[in-house]
């Protein structure tokens, strides 16, 4: 069964069900949960069919309302966007399964319905952002995503989370406003909103109005830099991701930030083009910020005692890896960045879910109090260990493969000094992840009774965590599954 309308079906299902959820009378019964899983399951199946469709056939454009090109909104459905959609939806379904048990403890029962509405709206805007080929449409999806991701933090309704979401909202709005200003500057000189048509005009425009393009790229880099937590603009992220309910932290850190990174890649390479981006020097700046992020993010993480804050700061460092790969502006660099987008999505989800599971059962947030906890929670700590090994880059995990590809890309692009930065950052990663694993597995604790007698984290939580960990190992052992698809899509970024 194939149809070119699959991306739109996915969007319609997500948006439609987001509206239906608040209308359901029955609150948090089995049927309510089953309905959510059913809809997400259908979208995953559609995404699989879509990916198959694109790989067998070819990438195509989908224009809404059969307008002519340039008037209607356009989607580009290529190999990477189909793969990214599939991975976003698979991780979303696992996180949702996890959240059925976890949410009861974290947010007020009357708000649970609202929570799933927000999750569906968030997935809707994220998938839309991945497919869209229109800069104003991109802005609308960005704004919708930032509103839902703030709401998904504020829903916890504690002092910390409300403060963090206020900070996130103000920073995020500055970011999206700045992106809109950049889009306006591009529209002003090219007269198009469609990314492909802008790319056709931009060469000529660049000769006539270089300052205009420079300003536009400056605005866009700053805007997406804030939203994707590029290093000096990252300071909303640790608060926001650590004070959110656990499923929200996993969604935000694993998926949402990646949407902004992918949009940045689109604007840098598909809209403005590789030649102009490198000539402006935007790639050079991004490399500097990425290096700072990779080192400083890890250094900050080292000083955190709260386990979720440590994970959040580690995200800042990992975003640095992705931006470094993007800014190399070579085919290998971009494919390594996109590979890390996917592998980091799995690893950070695994880490946040297992950390959340520890907090769920024992209430411990301090990393120094985890001595010997692996004896009581073997699956949770196992997942945590796999995720942390991935972050450090131990062979066999997806993190090793993304570092390997990034290392090759750095050498290929002629920056051998960046390899030292990658190694140093991996070393720092080891420095703040290994103590947790070592103390959890080896250190002896006198009374060894964290959890109440005979309890362990509920089955759905263990199930979804374990599947994410299996995903990490699968991508680590067979990276070609992902890499082959990415390599089909990357040429459209570099030589358009």
């Amino acid at each position: 069964m194939t149809s070119m309308h699959f991306p739109v079906y996915i969007l319609m299902l997500l948006l439609g069900y987001a509206v239906i959820i608040p209308l359901q009378r029955k609150l948090s019964g089995k049927r309510f949960q089953l309905g959510i899983l059913l809809v997400l399951g259908v979208t995953v199946i559609l995404a699989i069919l879509e990916l198959d469709n694109v790989i067998r056939g070819s990438a195509y454009r989908y224009i809404f309302g059969s307008y002519t090109r340039g008037i209607g909104i356009e989607f580009i459905v290529d190999e990477f966007s189909a793969l990214m959609t599939l991975i976003v939806l698979i991780l979303a379904i696992l996180i949702v399964i996890y959240s059925f048990k976890d949410l009861d403890h974290e947010i007020h029962p009357t708000r649970i319905k609202g929570y799933y509405t927000l999750v569906f709206l968030m997935m809707f805007s994220l998938v839309g952002m991945i497919f869209t080929n229109d800069i104003f449409n991109l802005y609308v999806f960005v704004e919708l995503l930032s509103l839902t991701s703030v709401a998904i933090i504020a829903i916890k309704n504690t002092k910390d989370s409300i403060f963090a979401s206020m900070k996130y909202l103000i920073m995020g709005t500055i970011g999206s406003v700045t992106v809109l200003m950049g889009s306006a500057l591009i529209y002003m000189v090219t007269g198009h909103l469609n990314m492909t048509l802008i790319n056709g005009e931009i060469g000529m425009v660049w000769e006539q109005y270089p300052i205009n393009i420079l300003l536009a790229m400056g605005f866009i880099l700053t805007g997406f830099g804030i939203k994707a937590a590029m290093f000096p603009l990252h300071n909303w992220l640790p608060d926001a991701h650590s004070s959110a309910p656990t499923p929200s932290s996993a969604l935000l850190s694993g998926l949402v930030v990646k949407g902004y990174v992918f949009s940045m890649a689109k604007l840098m390479y598909r809209v403005v083009g590789k030649d102009i981006s490198t000539e402006i020097g935007i790639t050079r700046f991004i490399i500097i910020f990425a290096v700072m992020g990779m080192i400083m993010g890890s250094v900050f993480a080292l000083s955190q005692r709260d386990i979720k804050r440590r994970l959040a700061y580690s995200s800042v460092a990992q975003i640095g890896y992705i931006f470094m790969g993007l800014a190399l502006a070579t085919e290998l660099g971009i494919s390594s960045a996109l590979f890390h987008v996917i592998s980091h999505a799995f690893m950070k989800t695994a880490l946040f879910l297992s950390a959340g599971s520890i907090i769920f059962l024992t209430g411990i947030r301090d990393v120094r109090e985890l001595d010997g906890i692996a004896y009581e929670m073997p699956i949770t700590m196992g997942v945590f260990a796999v995720g942390a090994m991935g972050m450090i880059g131990i062979p066999g995990t997806s993190g090793f493969m993304s570092k390997w590809y990034l290392g090759l890309a750095v050498l290929d692009a002629g920056y051998p000094e960046l390899l030292i930065v990658i190694l140093l950052s991996s070393f720092l990663n080891a420095l703040y992840y290994m103590p947790i694993i070592i103390s959890a597995y080896i250190a002896e604790h006198p009374d060894r009774s964290y959890a109440p007698e005979g309890t362990c984290s509920p089955l759905p939580m263990r199930f979804s965590m374990a599947l994410v960990a299996v995903g990490i190992l699968l991508i680590g052992l067979f990276p070609n599954i992902v890499m082959d698809v990415i390599q089909l899509a990357v040429p459209t970024f570099v030589n358009l």
């Binding site: 104003f136 609308v140 704004e143 509103l147 703030v150 709401a151 504020a154 309704n157 002092k159 409300i162 403060f163 979401s165 206020m166 909202l169 103000i170 709005t173 500055i174 406003v177 809109l180 200003m181 306006a184 529209y187 002003m188 909103l193």
Partner: protein, 123 residues
Amino acid sequence: MNFIIGNINYIGAMVLFVIGLYTVLTHPNLIKKIIGINIMETSIFLFFVSIGYVQGARAPLVDPGNGGQLLVNPLPSAMILTGIVVALSVSAFALSLVVRLHQLYGTIELDEIIKIRSVETDD
């Protein structure tokens, strides 16, 4: 001088953008920060609508008998309608968060909230 008068919309938009950004970054009062964000958004609306303006053109109503007339570009205005809706929802949400912050901390001055938080974490 003519340059300034000819481009007064664009210059005004940029000045407003900077004023808004300055307000967001320097005022500790959260309501004033939200007003600053609104000023930034308004500046972009001004900028966007100015892009569509054509001197001497008339409103873009299609008149079949009267071809060849200059028309104003209607697309930026249509987009700004969307932009205004987004801006409205952001302000509404931000204001509701400010209400919650006031209930929880008893103040809407950011520096006082940070002071309260640092005292609480020391305990």
